[in-house]
């Protein structure tokens, strides 16, 4: 590697960002708007309604997917009810050129990014590993291996540095990566490596941790004795705690973290303090490990309700809008209900298609073997249907 390749990477000095202990909140659970000298957003009523709309649709996706799973149309569903503000807020903070590295529950961020929800559902139906084009939509494939996306996000950010797309001052050119992960993920060795690595290389990456309080049955206290955002200190980057049920605060905090990364300021760790209202997945039974009282307390902090309360109080949410949104939400649900059963199973032989980029004789031979057996079975079935025997 030449010095010039390393040059731009080292050029951006780390800017020590202020450390915050308290939680950033711009819209409290009663729908009251607060102002924060350091983190604030100035959104137009139309933009606010846009956030509201996206959260409503995201929740609809969740309930429809759950119903589809119950009807046997999906193999599994990882719900995100309660995390709408975190995901929509962070998803909206991302710019076109940024790359998002999600986990497996970040449907709201994908919706905000314009990913077709049927592509998300096709993964949970078992038709593919997620039908979206990661390059085109700027969203890495979902990963089921906890924390495994974090190091690739750092590497991507290091690539961005090497491409000179950091700190140029051109808002359409400066780029960042953002990794989404849960509270449980912070326990993985790879998570520690990712934080440290990003900090050492001053990589333009934001670590967006949705602390939804539970990793399947284990409370966050089983993952970490200190508040998660304080992990950032040890890795040498700012850690910010944000109310994860407050879409305005999430948007603001993630936006400034991404700005900092794009500008060459280095990584930030954001802990979005939220709650998973439903089961971990449709195969989980949260009543075995979680008290109803805890869920009830969080219901009071609902992210959609509080934005609705605020917008209504401001006179920015009229009946006409609500009616139109209800209709849109219904049409959206119908599209999912009809779209999922219509998803085509892949051709069995297609499983051989992408194992290797270049021909692999072993795989080609096995594909031939598979196809021969497959055609034979078809012929047998045909013969049986016409009275023949094998």
């Amino acid at each position: 590697m030449t010095d010039t390749a390393v040059g731009p990477v080292r050029a951006h000095a780390q800017q020590p960002a202020p450390r915050r202990q308290e939680m950033v909140q711009l819209l409290d659970e009663h729908g009251v708007r607060h102002h924060d000298p350091e983190h604030d957003v100035d959104l137009s009523p139309a933009e606010l309604r846009g956030l509201y709309r996206e959260m409503v649709l995201m929740r609809r996706l969740d309930s429809e997917a759950e119903a589809l799973q119950r009807k046997g149309q999906l193999g599994l569903w990882a719900g995100s009810r309660g995390q709408e503000a975190s995901q929509v807020g962070a998803g909206r903070a991302v710019r076109r050129q940024d790359q998002l590295f999600p986990s497996y529950r970040d449907h709201g961020a994908l919706l905000a990014r314009g990913v077709d929800p049927l592509h998300v559902l096709s993964l949970f139906r078992g038709v593919d590993h997620g039908g979206w084009d990661p390059v085109e939509v700027g969203v890495h494939p979902y990963t089921l291996v906890i924390a495994a996306q974090m190091l690739p996000a750092v590497g991507y950010a290091m690539g961005v540095q090497r491409d000179g797309a950091v700190g140029t001052g051109d808002p359409d050119r400066d780029t960042a990566a953002i990794a989404f992960f849960g509270d449980g993920a912070t326990s993985q060795g790879e998570a520690a490596e990712a934080l440290n690595w990003a900090s050492v290389f001053n990589a333009p990456v934001v670590f967006f941790c949705q602390n939804n309080q539970w990793a399947i049955s284990e409370p966050v206290s089983r993952q970490s004795p200190v508040p998660l955002h304080r992990r950032a200190e040890g890795a040498g980057m700012p850690g910010v705690l944000v109310d994860g049920n407050d879409v305005l605060a999430v948007l603001s905090v993630v936006r400034s973290a991404l700005d900092r990364a794009r500008g060459g300021g280095g990584p930030t760790f954001v802990e979005s303090f939220t709650f998973r209202m439903g089961a971990h997945t449709t195969s989980d039974d949260p009543t075995r490990y979680r008290l109803a009282a805890e869920v009830d307390a969080w219901r009071e902090k609902d992210p959609i309700d509080r934005l609705r309360t605020y917008l209504t109080a401001e006179g920015e949410l009229d009946e006409e809008f609500e009616t139109a949104l209800a209709a849109e939400s219904e049409a959206f649900a119908v599209r999912l209900r009809e779209g999922v059963p219509a998803l085509q199973d892949p051709a069995p032989a297609s499983m051989f298609d992408h194992a290797y980029a270049e021909p692999h004789p072993q795989v080609l031979a096995e594909r031939d073997e598979f196809l021969a057996a497959w055609e034979q079975q078809d012929a047998d079935a045909h013969a049986a249907a016409h009275g023949g025997t094998r």
Binding site: G75, L123, V145, A215, E218, R288, M351, A355
Partner: protein, 327 residues
Amino acid sequence: METMAIGRAINAGLRAAMDRDPRVLLMGEDIGALGGVFRVTDGLQKDFGEDRVIDTPLAEAGIVGTAIGMALRGYRPVCEMQFNGFVFPAFNQITTQLAKLRARSRGRLSVPVVLRIPSGGGIGSVEHHSESPEVLFAHTAGLRVVAPSTPHDAYWMVQQSIASADPVLFLEPERRYWQKGEVDTDLGPGQVTPLHRARVLRPGTDATLVAYGPTTQLALDAAAAAAQDGTELEVVDLRSISPLDVDTVAESVRRTGRLVTVSEAPTFHGPMAELAARIQESCFYSLEAPVKRVGGWHLPYPVARVEEHYLPSVDRVLDAVEQSLAA
């Protein structure tokens, strides 16, 4: 005799081992109040407490690494990997530490750790829940790799694994957790089949089918189907992949003259390649046909909607038998 499902039998085996030896403890993600995602440890934390049934942080390298340390202090940790694909974050700890400590210390250190790994697919799941990683570990000297296929074996083999002075990877046939069968819990010493001995489950004369773990039932099903056409297949359950009881298989092959192996793991460089090579060495003059292998393809495990085309089926087994008989 008691009737139980495989998952339940492992639970009972763990309970028996914990009752017998206070040094036995369980470690894993969600194994406490939830009882594990497959409920295999159901009720154990309630009865043995949080210090012996430990809900760990979500960190596989951490689970295996700390289990090694506890074993060095005289405990006998039994670790649960939540799903097969998630053993890989712990791969370094397993292959460089767990497997090697005994050799590195010239036998001074013992690490009697058991890793329970739900293994194989067929449950319609998402990526990294359906892998068969056994060959990676079988190839690693210092580890023992076993795979029960019946409730009776599940009950006894888990206890034998815990009693072993070596690290044992205990592969649980994920899609057979709910398969029921009889368990004789009253056997005395010497009445239980040794951990690494293969067993003939069905006698036959025309060819030998060898399988282990999730495909053993498949081999039995195929033998039952073949019997209707008058072909008598002998079915051998390997039970252990490392070490491999080649003698039991060789004896069977000398009687039948033909061998077809069945595994979910890919055949390419797979566990049955080793068996085939050894049988060809030891039974060359008894073989009437080349050894045939039926298994997974050399592919990342495919999505659920096509996994039935990946997994060996009765048809694929019978086709291989037909080819063997025709040779």
